[in-house]
Amino acid sequence: MNCRSIVKELSNYLDESLDITLKDSIEQHLTNCEDCRIVVDTTKKTIQIYCNSEPAPLPEDTRSRLHEALVKHLRRVRA
């Protein structure tokens, strides 16, 4: 297992979709390679930051137009 292989398998490792042998080989490499460990750690952090980021509040005018469009549509459907 070398650094290039680690990067190739990085997504599968973070998604826990590797078989146990490959996972063990990666973790063995990570124990000894600080750079790969940082890449794994910071990539995981990147995903976490995006995954946990709250969407900005909807601008009030955008929200009003959405709800007006819905009401209009629902009235038409019911008529």
Binding site: V7, L10, S11, E34, T42, K44, I49, Y50, R65, V77
Partner: protein, 212 residues
């Protein structure tokens, strides 16, 4: 790469709490004609759907159109929703279709998700540096939002949309492939590149040496 000892990572990313327990109840009520139940679903997901539409179209006006069209389409086809997936996943699929149609109408020669991209790039990152704990806490909420939005906006659309669906909307690889009409290997390949590119883009804000 250099060598030293430490524990390998083991946990996967923390999932967001996008689905609440009452979602099936609300969907059933909306299907039964209870408009307020559908309005609750709209209020619950409007921000996420708008962000999704904006991240795909990269245009606020288009994103607003896409959001409206998606909710109206969802309401129209609600009776056909069988509950085989989460309502939110179904809504995301509708939004992606609407957004891609909009994007292709605007820029027909730019967006092609089904081509295999040969970036010719070296995937192994260079000049690696640790970020330290909770790097995102170094920024105010609105600053962080701008950093994240700008970084993802710089990605090629075919990377950006895959990352958005897999890592922000938390669709499975298979659901993402189905929503985008891509093969599973193509989704995996784009996801890896998107994650590495975003890591690289965020690196300049989050690396430990940036702490003042």
């Amino acid at each position: 790469m250099s060598t030293s000892k430490a524990n390998p990572l083991e946990a996967r990313p923390i999932p967001s709490q996008v689905v609440r327990d009452d979602e099936p109840v609300l969907v059933a009520a909306a299907k039964g004609g209870e408009i307020s139940a559908f309005e609750t679903l709209v209020s619950r997901y409007e921000r996420k759907i708008f962000r999704l539409a904006q991240n795909i179209t990269q245009n606020r006006e288009d994103a607003e159109d896409v959001m409206q069209e998606s909710f109206l389409k969802a309401y129209e086809h609600l009776s056909g929703f069988q509950g085989n997936s989460r309502f939110y996943t179904w809504l995301v699929r509708i939004t992606v279709n609407q957004a891609l149609m909009k994007l292709r109408r605007r820029r027909p020669n730019v967006v092609s998700l089904d081509e295999e991209l040969d970036t010719g790039e070296e995937l192994v990152p260079r000049e690696v540096e640790d970020w330290g704990p909770s790097p995102e806490d170094r920024y105010k909420q609105n600053q962080l939002g701008e950093i994240l939005s700008s970084a993802i906006g710089d990605l090629d659309p075919s990377f950006r949309i895959v990352f958005q669906l897999r890592d922000i909307e938390e669709l499975s690889t298979e659901e993402t492939a189905e929503a985008l009409g891509l093969s599973v290997p193509a989704v995996k390949s784009r996801l890896l590149r998107a994650r590495l590119k975003l890591r690289q883009k965020l690196d300049k804000y989050f690396r430990r040496s940036e702490i003042s």
